[in-house]
Symmetry: C2
Subunit: 225 residues, 2 copies
DNA sequence: CGGACCATTGAGAGCAGTCAAGTAGGGTGG
DNA sequence: CCACCCTACTTGACTGCTCTCAATGGTCCG
């Protein structure tokens, strides 16, 4: 049984149903950093869950500008925004060696029709996605956004049982910048200042969170909890 | 039968089911400008659909800062982000004399369990909400955001059969500013510049869209279509 | 008519963006 | 194994968009 089940779509299913659910799951991988899971515009047939590794999603607008829409950890679902248009709305790209679970959406729908727990879990996942993105509205300083990003990542890692004192950022600065809506140079400067102020220690893509209290305070505005 | 049914949650239901669906709908109102539909933290028991008028939703963070999360037109659903926490995550506030439909979520869930069309419609609505908010990520200029706001509103009004040459903005500048993440003074200045450039004509809260082509072009970056 | 509220306009400041130069790993080929 | 290169990252200087603060103008309403 997948160790992520508790955090993932099958959350809430009993033993029997969980086994039946696993029949509709195809494990895909291992993918390598740089592999695509799907591409913007592809026909939507399945939801994907990260099983191991990390995935980023992004879209390209008419002018060719890239827009990163998310970084996904194990247990998180990718492709939920494609349900209504039946086409994926972005590219999904492995940032690291990764395993993903492919779950036919037609079959998910069938099962959700039979099992109230699954319907509920689907709705809850979508709903928390909405609540999540609502938080990011509003104008925040570069410091607040950066702290928000780090704390959010740390919390998600903790939920998954990883230590979150030491974060390894698999994505490049440019990706973080794009995701947070700022320039990559600003990421560098903010990280440096955070380090000078004793909030974190940075070594390339490795970030140690040294003063969680103050980081939380900074992030509070963004994460609104 | 509600004229919004085509755009709203019962979309896709046949005549018979539509009638049964209507049994779980309570019409609430008329509400007057300034009335609340629900408040942040209230127990979530029902989804609301706007039937007539306009509703804004907003939350207040720990520091007392207001954050507007949406403006809702007839046929649009309010409260979807509360499903996972079973508490409303924001205040819902009538901007004008309005009617809303209260739909018990427990009953929606029951019906969705029986009717695939309703389950699908629920999932689609949530999914397009996600796709929608993803668009707003990224850093846009004040001009792009403003154009995006106007064009988005115009399109939604058109979908509902209203003329969209002349927009009446029921909310104050401060609300638009907050929603778009900028200062209210900037809203004034951008609207004035748009007017000077012949894109729109502004008279208080009434805005005429004069050059839809150029506005669309400006908005394109934000709305990404 | 006066007050309250909203909106506009102006002046100045500051945060973060752009441009450009410099640094540092990591990988490759000789 | 080392020199080289490429890419990612950092740092500095400067610019500019948008914010803030403050004053003014309009409109509605009692």
């Amino acid at each position: 049984m997948c160790t992520n089940a508790r955090l993932c779509l099958p959350h809430g299913l009993d033993e029997t149903r969980l086994r039946e659910f696993e029949c509709i799951v195809d494990e895909v991988g291992p993918l390598h950093a740089g592999d695509f899971i799907f591409r913007d515009g592809d026909e939507f047939t399945a939801l994907y869950a990260v099983r191991a590794g990390m995935v980023k999603t992004y879209s390209i607008d008419r002018e060719g500008r890239e827009q990163i829409t998310g970084f996904y950890l194990p247990g998180e679902l990718i492709g939920l925004d494609a349900i209504h248009s039946m086409r994926y709305r972005n590219h999904a790209f492995a940032l690291d060696t990764s395993m993903v679970c492919r779950m036919s959406f037609a079959k998910i729908r069938e099962l959700a029709q039979k099992w109230p727990e699954l319907q509920t879990q689907l709705l809850c996942t979508l709903s928390s996605g909405l609540a999540e993105t609502d938080k990011l509205r509003g104008e925040y300083s570069a410091d607040e956004r950066m702290a928000g990003f780090l704390i959010d990542l740390a919390r998600r890692l903790e939920q998954r049982g990883y230590s979150a004192e030491r974060l390894y950022l698999l994505m490049e600065r440019r990706d973080i910048a794009n995701f947070l809506g700022m320039a990559k140079e600003t990421i560098s400067r903010v990280l440096r200042r955070f380090q000078d102020e004793g909030l974190i220690a940075v070594d390339r893509r490795e970030v140690m969170l040294l003063d969680r209290i103050r980081l939380d305070a900074l992030a509070g505005a963004v994460l609104r909890d």
